[in-house]
Symmetry: C2
Subunit: 260 residues, 2 copies
DNA sequence: CGGAGTATTGAGTGACATCAACGCGCGTGG
DNA sequence: CCACGCGCGTTGATGTCACTCAATACTCCG
């Protein structure tokens, strides 16, 4: 666990034009699931009360504390994690731009896990009250938001399969396919290339591997000419084989458009 | 994968008195999360269109097929699973009496996993249309159902932590604690004893272990005098130590009452 | 130019998997 | 009632994937 300097910049409560256009990424994400009515877009966008910025390694949600609002990620990568007594850390979710981070927190749920920024991040906030109101008056939008939490749960199940049954190499391939597919859905990746701002340590904690072994798994993928990985630039040089090796089937991501 | 003889017994669509009392277990489960209004109980119970019975090893949801209705488990244990090319099976969820099995299926989600009965099971059905209607007119009940899917997601994250970071023995201890706690919440367990109708093979596929190693993990727990396990009867002889060894914190189960 | 963080490599160890055999309880059929 | 077979639990021997420890490179940054 790194230091936790939370550089939060509160904005005025009235959604500005620029704020709204930043929020587009969230709409793009929701549209990747299904058609979204313009009216629902308006309702959701106007529910945003402000944005916050986080430095790398800043704590977005502190373990054990229920945040006073729900957040959607506008920029950067973040992740949910849990720490065990021996210091081991498991990343249980990776949040990419457009993802809701803790949509579940508006229901009086308790969690003992935290959310950390893996790169510089910006989030948009919606108050619990606003979301509660949406569930009262906007059933269609409510179903859409519910659905986005269900897609997250399906991703959890896929990761369970990776960790329980797949080899380190296959799991790594699978995760790379997932990240590319999710980024592409919000137009942050294309041509089998994407920017991966997180370290191998983070990826290792996600896959339940040691950094050493993850590194060797990545190198095995390189040796097979399936990927290139230089600093934070990842290029998938053989998508079909990577998909095959990782047994990646994007069905669980619930997207309505094909991948390529 | 065993044979799949689906002995389904359809009942008339009008909920009978006995059917309604069977459905009580689902209400008990929902009440374990939060207070449930009597009106919501009525609405939900009247949405039940019938029950079905399944033999051990019967397929409750066939992989790849979207079921025409959603199901809640009234009796028996079931589980969601995914099979890989090499035949490896990962159990991604264990369903106990009172749990909704595929509450997510009413939203047009696709899944390539299946649900299988681990013991004789009975389910109650609610049509997608009824559930859709509930989301239109019953926001409070909708939030409650949403919440139950969020608790399932939190359980997935806990299992990710088990599989990624915990030893086989600690993970086994954790799962035993979880099962007892969940069963106790619906009054199917007490006094640190419960009936576990599933085989070690199933538990091993849940924890991502081989049967041999799971068996040795269980025996280690026995040797420490933490549990007794004879046929399908499990007795936790030292709850505090089992909780400690498995680092079990029931927070993620979202229950509003203490455990003991 | 030094230092911190990250990536990479090597060597040794350990946890868990695999393979194989045996016991045990239970249901079934003779 | 017993013989048989099947599913499941248990045990031992052996193999291997991934972890740990440790050291070295690379890159960025001050």
């Amino acid at each position: 666990m790194k230091s936790v300097s939370n550089v939060a910049a509160f904005r005025p409560a009235i959604a500005s034009v620029s704020q709204r256009s930043q929020f587009d990424i969230v709409i793009r994400k929701l549209r990747s699931f299904d058609h979204v009515a313009d009216e629902d877009v308006s309702v959701l966008a106007s529910a945003v009360s402000g944005t916050r910025s986080f430095d790398t390694c800043a704590s977005i949600v502190t373990p054990g504390k229920t945040p006073p609002h729900i957040s959607a990620l506008l920029e950067g990568w973040a992740g949910r994690y849990k720490i065990l007594r021996n210091g081991a850390r498991q990343i249980t979710a990776l949040y990419l731009p457009g993802d809701f981070i803790d949509l579940h927190s508006f229901l009086p749920t308790k969690t003992d896990d935290g959310v950390i920024a893996f790169s510089g991040c910006k989030t948009a906030q919606v108050s619990h009250e606003s979301l509660q109101q949406i569930t009262e008056t906007e059933p269609r939008l409510t179903r859409l938001l519910w659905r986005s939490t269900l897609a997250a749960a399906a991703t959890h199940r896929e990761w369970l399969t990776i960790m329980g049954q797949m080899s380190a190499g296959a799991g790594t391939a699978h995760l790379i396919c997932e990240l590319y597919t999710r980024l592409k859905a919000v137009r942050l990746a294309d041509n089998h290339r994407f920017c991966c701002p997180i370290t191998q340590l983070t990826l290792a904690d996600t896959l339940g591997l040691s950094t050493v072994h993850l590194n060797r798994s990545i190198q095995a993928l390189r040796a097979k000419n399936l990927i290139q990985w230089h600093r934070d630039k990842v290029t998938i040089t053989d998508w079909d084989q990577l998909v095959d090796w990782g047994e990646f089937d994007p069905t669980y991501l619930q997207m309505n458009e094909p991948v390529g």
